[in-house]
């Protein structure tokens, strides 16, 4: 159970405080409710590029990192399709430095041309390192475009193409900032050796003077229900054939979310999962295979992906996976298998909650979903999942009309 207190400033900034006096450290986490899904389809990759620009100096502070490092702090950030999250860990005694830095870049960036020019290049190198100069690096670009026709999950956070990043203009940067990086579109979480009174005082001092922005009304195009399975062949200079399949699933707040999460664990989460045991160990059709899901806010995808053992054909591999899926859809899972994945999840939650950093990330994420306290109800929701619910969930998700398949062939 993670205890916390919550309050809101007059400008709409939500603030959450979790006190842990056993540590000398504190974490200051600012989540902005904007991700790649909020981008213009012609200017993708922008939320992520923007994350880089947030380190290029703010209106009153030329360099973000230096004063933080001087105070013994460290920081980083990440962008997903749903959100952008900035966090720093700092000795609790120096926490005001983090408030000073974070509030100044929420107030306004410096909008330096030099920073934009350099970070465009850095992001292009990141794009190359992760998505071009890597075997199968383009698989997810292709799969997202196959599985989504309308919804902005169609593109990855890094962007649909290098050109979009290369073309970013200063005016785009400014517009993006003043549309999304406003206090009423953000959640501030402070964890560690702090008190609520102290955080209240600091938040009032540093964040309250920042004017609220126009409230962003998210209106994303919904993905129409898929009527027919889709597939795509890829041939590339990779050593092994790969099979990747996806099916549509509900969003993070969907009633079936916890069952879906457990289901993917049963199917392909580790060494006792169905696919690992049957297809890697018993039948030796795949050399690696996993099942997982997006865990995204909006309706995401359940994924099965694996590399084929050399000499096995794609159709044999595909059939072997589908046979396992049929078993999951048509038979009740033994109770101890369900108990196993619930126990694994309980363990995962406990280990995750060990650090004040993870607690800060989780509190911010659940607050984004609507209520930070959802974090404390997760285990209970998993424990309510039964073999019957898992079977129904499998039948709903694994419909052939809803399937997208990428046949990724080795040229050699």
């Amino acid at each position: 159970m993670i205890q916390f207190e919550k309050f809101e400033l007059a400008n709409g900034l939500k603030v959450i405080v979790h006190q842990d006096s056993s540590t000398p450290m504190a974490v200051v986490n600012v989540l902005y409710n904007v991700g790649a899904k909020d981008e213009d389809p012609k200017k993708t990759g922008f939320a992520h590029l923007f994350e880089h620009l947030m380190f290029g100096g703010s209106v009153n502070i030329p360099v973000y990192d230096e004063p933080l490092q001087r105070a013994g702090g460290e920081n980083n950030a990440y962008t997903t399709n749903d959100l952008t999250n900035y966090y720093c860990q700092i000795p609790a005694e120096n926490i005001e430095t983090a408030f000073w830095l974070e509030s100044d870049r929420m107030l306004s960036l410096a909008f330096s041309e030099k920073s934009l020019e350099v970070q465009r290049k850095v992001v292009c190198e990141e794009f190359k390192e992760h998505y071009i100069n890597k075997p199968y690096g383009d698989a997810w670009h292709k799969m997202r475009e196959l599985a989504y026709t309308k919804h902005p999950y169609r593109w990855m956070t890094i962007g649909a193409s290098l050109a979009h990043v290369e073309d970013a203009k200063m005016q785009d940067v400014k517009d993006f900032f003043f549309q999304f990086y406003r206090p009423n579109n953000a959640i501030l979480v402070v964890t560690g050796n702090v008190t609520t009174a102290q955080v209240k005082q600091l938040a009032e001092k540093w964040f309250a003077p920042i004017a609220a922005g126009k409230l962003y009304q998210r209106d994303l195009p919904a993905e129409p229900v898929q009527q027919k399975s889709r597939s795509m062949d890829v041939r590339a200079d990779v050593p092994l054939d790969m099979l990747m399949m996806t099916w549509h699933m509900g969003g993070r707040m969907d009633a079936r979310y916890h069952a879906t999460d457990l289901l993917t664990d049963v199917i392909g989460g580790g060494a006792t999962s169905r696919l690992y045991e049957q297809l890697i160990k018993v039948k030796q059709i795949f050399s690696s295979i996993d099942c997982y899901h997006f865990g995204a806010v909006e309706p995401g995808l359940v994924v099965i992906e694996g590399k084929l053992v050399k000499g096995v054909t794609m159709s044999v591999a595909e059939k072997a996976v589908m046979d396992e899926i049929e078993i999951i859809k048509n038979t009740l899972m033994p109770m101890n298998e369900v108990q196993k994945v619930i126990n694994k999840t309980e363990s995962l939650i406990c280990f995750e909650d060990m650090s004040i950093m993870n607690r800060a990330h989780s509190l911010a994420f659940y607050e984004l979903l609507g209520d930070a306290n959802l974090m404390n109800q997760e285990l209970e929701k998993y424990q309510l999942v039964t073999p019957e619910i898992l079977k129904q969930t499998a039948q709903e998700i694994f419909q052939d009309n809803h399937r997208n398949t990428l046949y990724y062939y080795s040229k050699s």
Binding site: E66, E74, I90, W100, S103, D104, D237, P239, T272, K340
Partner: protein, 427 residues
């Protein structure tokens, strides 16, 4: 009064923090296995990290140490691989194995309440692993496939080659497995290595987190009665045979859009008086986000997504490594900038202000690194395995606090000599 945002809040310098390494508890099992523990934390979880002296230093044949470590979880006289995995996973426990140069580990992460359920299985793995033929065959097949995939990646090739140049292909720090090495290992090799280095081998246990009340008893019943510590660790000497050629350029993929750059030189181990002060110099040079290499090559020129330098943490002999992936057309200027930054540190004194920042960053980071029971026992583990004690911890802190620009310049003059560095780009 209006808020003055130009004025930074007052800070306490991290060099003034009172940083303590909290002491461990220690006890010995009936079979003389030593156990180091640190109890604490808010969550009901724990870690048991068993260290065996079973690294690749001791193998006679390439890849045997790593394969033994991996496969000891894939069958015992009582259970097959699936049953073993199930026995851990049912309780949400996770058993990981890792093989290093001197040591190999078996680490158990579990909920405190289930320790008693899973500790007997750990004991079984150390006493009765039987390495089924079929498990070895599947593992070989899958590793050969994974290798073919990795060999497509420039950074993978670069990491292998730079270690080979530094230490030699026959040295534990320089060697790596080829497809043929995977094929050459058989069941007997594994059995033989297992009997000597695990079943009767030297073992040290590190534990952290929340413990059940009868933890010592459970450990003694399940591990303390095994025939461990029966064999002396053999004294093995592997001479370092460094390459004579210093500069390399390898084309792995003609279509590659980036080059993986590695620049490295030999460096002594932790016991050398230069090791601790050089950590400060390394941080200034390329050890963190605000380092000179990052500010120049990423933040000013945009040649790369990241560039880092670090001292390897080998027990015997280390290397100082600079590592980055840069755009294909900017690999050469990237390397030139690296040497320029070395030259600057050789010729110019570091500004007091920059040095203070790095000191604060390092000590603040240390405070964070020691936050939590797993982190504390991890630090102790490093010290104990490297034959160091808490004196080393406090001495290192004092060195970081006290070091002056002149000493850093002297270190740079000593170690930043371009002719001492190996240099490699893999496209």
């Amino acid at each position: 009064m209006a808020l003055d945002r130009l004025l930074a809040p007052v800070i306490k310098d991290a060099i003034d923090f009172d940083i303590q390494l909290k002491p461990y508890q220690h006890f010995v099992l009936d079979n003389q296995v030593e156990v180091y523990t640190y109890e604490g934390g808010a969550e009901e979880v724990m870690l048991m990290d068993m260290v065996f002296f079973a690294g690749n230093t001791y193998e006679q044949k390439n890849w045997v140490a790593a394969a033994t470590n991996f496969l000891l979880k894939n069958g015992t006289t009582q259970k097959n691989a699936f049953e073993i995995n199930e026995a851990f996973e049912f309780y949400g426990a996770h058993l990981s194995r890792n093989c290093y140069n001197e040591t190999a580990t078996i680490a158990l992460h579990c909920l405190t309440k289930y320790f008693k359920e899973v500790i007997p299985i750990v004991g079984e793995l150390i006493a009765e692993a039987n390495f089924p033929e079929k498990e070895l065959m599947i593992y070989q097949q899958n590793l050969i496939q994974r290798l073919s995939l990795n060999l497509k990646k420039g950074d993978f090739i670069a990491n292998r080659l730079i270690d080979e140049y530094l230490f030699g292909i026959d040295h534990p720090y320089g060697k790596y497995a080829l497809e043929q090495d995977y094929r050459n290992v058989n069941k007997e090799d594994l059995h033989c290595f297992y009997d000597t280095y695990y079943k009767q081998g030297k073992c040290i246990i590190f534990m952290a987190g929340k413990f059940p009340g009868n933890m010592q008893e459970l450990l003694n019943n399940n591990i303390g009665q095994l025939p461990l510590n029966k064999k002396e660790i053999p004294a093995v000497m592997h001479p370092i045979v460094s390459a004579t050629q210093k500069k390399y350029s390898v084309i792995n993929d003609a279509e590659s859009v980036q080059g993986s750059i590695r620049i490295a030189r030999h460096f002594p181990n932790r016991h050398h008086p230069d090791f601790a002060p050089t950590q400060v110099l390394n941080n200034i040079f390329g050890g963190f986000f605000g380092s000179r290499l990052m500010r120049n090559i990423r933040e000013d020129k945009g040649y790369t997504y990241g560039i880092h330098s670090y001292l390897q943490n080998h027990v015997q002999s280390c290397a100082w490594m600079i590592s980055t992936d840069a755009g294909k057309d900017v690999c050469k200027p990237t390397m030139e900038e690296v040497y320029k930054e070395m030259k600057k540190l050789r010729e110019e004194l570091v500004e007091i202000d920059e040095l203070k920042l790095v000191k604060n960053y390092m000590l603040g980071g240390l405070l964070g690194d020691l936050d939590g029971p797993f982190q504390i026992i991890g630090r102790w583990k490093t010290y104990i395995l490297n034959d160091l004690n808490e004196e080393y911890f406090y001495k290192t802190i004092d060195i970081v606090r006290a070091i002056q620009p002149e000493e850093l310049k002297a270190l740079a003059e000593k170690y930043f000599q371009p002719e001492d560095f190996y240099e490699l780009v893999v496209y």
